[in-house]
Symmetry: C3
Subunit: 450 residues, 3 copies
Amino acid sequence: MRNIKYKLMTLAGAGVALAMLSSPAAAEVSEEAAFVFNTFSFLVHGVLVMFMAAGFAMLESGLVRSKNTASICLKNIALYSMAGIMFYLVGYNLMYVDVGSYMGSFSLLYNPSGAELDLINADEASDAMVAEVVGNGYSVMSDWFFQMVFVATAASVVSGTIAERMKIWPFMIFVIALSAVLYPIQASWTWGGGFLAEMGFSDFAGSTLVHSAGGWAALVGAIMVGARKGKYEGGRVHPMPGANLPLATLGTFILWFGWFGFNGGSQLALGSALDAAAIAIVYVNTNLAAAAGVVTAMILTQILYGKMDLTMCLNGALAGLVAITAGPDLQNHFIAIIVGAIGAALAIFAVPLLDKLKIDDVVGAIPVHLVAGIWGTLAVGIFGGGSFITQLTGVVAVAVFMIVTSAIVWGALKFTVGLRVSEEEESLGVDKTELGLEAYPEFGQGSLKH
Amino acid sequence: MRNIKYKLMTLAGAGVALAMLSSPAAAEVSEEAAFVFNTFSFLVHGVLVMFMAAGFAMLESGLVRSKNTASICLKNIALYSMAGIMFYLVGYNLMYVDVGSYMGSFSLLYNPSGAELDLINADEASDAMVAEVVGNGYSVMSDWFFQMVFVATAASVVSGTIAERMKIWPFMIFVIALSAVLYPIQASWTWGGGFLAEMGFSDFAGSTLVHSAGGWAALVGAIMVGARKGKYEGGRVHPMPGANLPLATLGTFILWFGWFGFNGGSQLALGSALDAAAIAIVYVNTNLAAAAGVVTAMILTQILYGKMDLTMCLNGALAGLVAITAGPDLQNHFIAIIVGAIGAALAIFAVPLLDKLKIDDVVGAIPVHLVAGIWGTLAVGIFGGGSFITQLTGVVAVAVFMIVTSAIVWGALKFTVGLRVSEEEESLGVDKTELGLEAYPEFGQGSLKH
Amino acid sequence: MRNIKYKLMTLAGAGVALAMLSSPAAAEVSEEAAFVFNTFSFLVHGVLVMFMAAGFAMLESGLVRSKNTASICLKNIALYSMAGIMFYLVGYNLMYVDVGSYMGSFSLLYNPSGAELDLINADEASDAMVAEVVGNGYSVMSDWFFQMVFVATAASVVSGTIAERMKIWPFMIFVIALSAVLYPIQASWTWGGGFLAEMGFSDFAGSTLVHSAGGWAALVGAIMVGARKGKYEGGRVHPMPGANLPLATLGTFILWFGWFGFNGGSQLALGSALDAAAIAIVYVNTNLAAAAGVVTAMILTQILYGKMDLTMCLNGALAGLVAITAGPDLQNHFIAIIVGAIGAALAIFAVPLLDKLKIDDVVGAIPVHLVAGIWGTLAVGIFGGGSFITQLTGVVAVAVFMIVTSAIVWGALKFTVGLRVSEEEESLGVDKTELGLEAYPEFGQGSLKH
């Protein structure tokens, strides 16, 4: 029998469980075990989120044309790397250390706690040393690792939108600004204990702080850099289909897989029955919202366009995931289905709207991360997880900050080093001109001949 | 020194370990810690199984022709989504709640336990509230999550077999029937505590309940929908090679990776030394059986065909994995090698047999999941894990049920909405006709010109 | 607020944590819980390392030409399988059981401990049985699983270097020798407690024992088998670009993902606050070194060649990872950045050097695994993790052993069955001649026409 209830009830029947319950020490999770659980949760969930970098890379590789594929691969691994280094050097302290209402401390470097180093380096660990470390509840660097992969996600949102026409180095400078300063400051308002936290703004794993923050940066970037040549020529929208849809599918699955870390780890603890049960609820909601996003996209594209659209269905999954990210801890799973479905629907309706505005978003990151991110954050207010007005305030505050600051950075880059490759380079493909190579040198028409 | 024994013996020598053993409370896993371990095992292993959906998607994407690639991607993400929603709405209760001999309860929705919600929502958690939650042994939704990814696997088995000629929506209706009703009912007989469990039928992680159940549904579907046009023309078998073998390889590796969750998590507990040691044995057997499957396939295809066949070797790994799934807890690892090797051999011999019967299985799912699944279940009886007759009874019972019920569903679809695209659509490729796009629009001959 | 400190301080403030600390039994991790943590760490981290096999497969699939892609896929799944079986049959005992100064015991088979089997099979588990199992500190087969995936990694290093011209079966025989005998003997010197361990040689997760050991085998193999036809024709280096760079990018991300298991699991324990905190430090250093490798490669290739090179940046990440592997436990994260950056720089400079020597390394495995592996091992001596002379001694000892023994094996193969396909077969591509198929039969020029 695989129904685990029977197995455990038998144990209980044998008196084992009841006997243990009568001994409080044995019934509880010891403080040191909770430390290990909490730390391991940060690490395991953090690794899942880290793998989302591969998911973004594959999604974007599949949705750009082959002549720009190698560049988007490079941008993805480069942004993950750069974001990690900058968040180490500057970002973490700015987001979490001595946070006032609006930001933390501008200081270089973050290191393991002295207590942990003392314990690790001691010839003999005294009880007091262990107690000092354990008193923190989790290893400080495991928390750093988990927070670091979030800033990389925010940066990943940007790369897909502005693909196929932006130069690599200016993009890297934007990533530096985003991960070192922009993201940490706005995130400190909520997760660092700043003014939005004090207002009661609620964003469990970052529909607003990660996804819509990245989405605003992408939107401003898309406007600043302009549409791809030919995309809106002659007043019509010219589709520029991605070169490799199985890779885009793989990327979506990897993101979905990683999202269990993104949302599950955001419980920030695993060391008690309450935390473990809460994480399980988060996993289930995360999965149901994404699933609802896919089914919604299938039905909607079938109705709207007469045919199902694979790319829309992939983005439906992602929009469902982004939408549930602000409140995956809600306890009615049915609502998770609704939140995911509406998130996907909004993302699908946002695609033609962006085209009408001639905002060229190569992979659909703005509908998915910005639109569904806003929806998910507001949904927390609608479905009883907080005040709607407060949720709206948080959304607007982050929006204003990200629009203004990213406009400054994009603008400064545009009017100095320039954002965009030349028309000829764009025609040839940025792989050829920026990297001097082709992503698929042997396949068919090849990228050089487009 | 990396030999961990030395490290821990040193600790023991210092009297630490011995002292702890003399204190029973400190030596045992507390009941709440066991709850956390059990729950986390469901979640971590469940996430690995979830990623198998990506593995199936890549395996099938790589083994179909390019003109049908986007459709198989869509089917895979759609079936995972739909199966998850249906198992939430209907399937779980039918499989696990109030199971009599033949099925559970037909009731909508499954929610976290009230005790867990009370604990999560309490301003202050009382000992009694914690004790009530902890008394269940694991979080109920973590169990739901783990069981849900299994039904998705069963549905994935079907999609590859009937690729390249079946319409998407009828396939989706079959997935709904399979995940809401067919799979849960037959699985309840064993894992829900029904009549096969009472007989002593043993299927650790589902060689029969998941893989051969899916395999029977695929077999009936393949017969109902018929072979691809041209496959058996003129009395000969015409190979239709897959378009992207590295993706098929990736898919196989992802499935292997996920299978540690599939089999390891099926121990259903991690909260004791016994459970942890048992899971370790499961991991090792799982890996050895798959490895033996690959080596067997290499040697056999070299002998039979004079050349090694990559696709057969990938399927050899999968057949080894399917075969060991019924009994990965056996304690002689040598037997795992034998079970995996024979599973792969049987799968390889089944391929020409299916062709002789003109049953067109695009990716080889029937040899891998059905044939090796039956073998693995019987092997438990052969190698001392249960009565052979009981094992055979279980195999036959599931076979009869799945053949009859899936024939009813496939048949109802065939004679109403129809299963198959038109001949012209099949020629053009279902990507073009069902989705209106191409998976690889820029590569070479392109899917449209085949 | 997401700043977990607040949450836990509140708990502590409520007296819960302090009360528990005053009860030593409740404050510590019980011995059985530590057993579960340690075992689960081996399993979870081992699964991550297992997935590196997929990473190598994708990296190499992307970097070879399309006409040799299916063969490299087959080699990768075959080597992982064969290495696992041989390490089970022979390698583990040779590496860990009754190790003298130079090797362990030549005996077949490794099985779970009798104590664990007794516990698993007991009708009723006595305290004494549990205590005996728990006294070992971890499940023996979880350790086996974790060590097994390392030998597979060493074998993976070889396959890429000698791609596109070596026959499959001779390669498989080399893998058997490597995983059954060569790798275990040299690894026993350090991790089995042999003479290098006694000298104090330090190699945390195997910069030398895994990566440079595999690298030496690859170097000797590359020399023995010779360069690809045309690679160094006319005294010039002719680039032979890989066919699928997104797959190479995916492979790199998978390797990076798996490396958290590789380095994190090498702490060999998770069952205490000290171990958990140490693993967190390892994760952070692993990530920073890889990130520094990418950024270094971007800057260096921009400066040296005027354009960034995607392949070099991917190898920069890997070189950073290899370099930090000997000492990811160092406590100054800034040094991790430096170690990774220098590792990447050395790997980049090694590429033209190898070309000057006409050593044809298809995927750059020698620069990445051998050169950065040596650097990382020496860096431990430079940055205070051990004596530089001892580190150098270990590097040289492994070098001498691996060069001599792998030369014997490669040589014996060369002068009996032969290593290399015929010139005509090489022209046609080994997929066609060894496997009788194409990896991408529909794409463009197709592999047959090259």
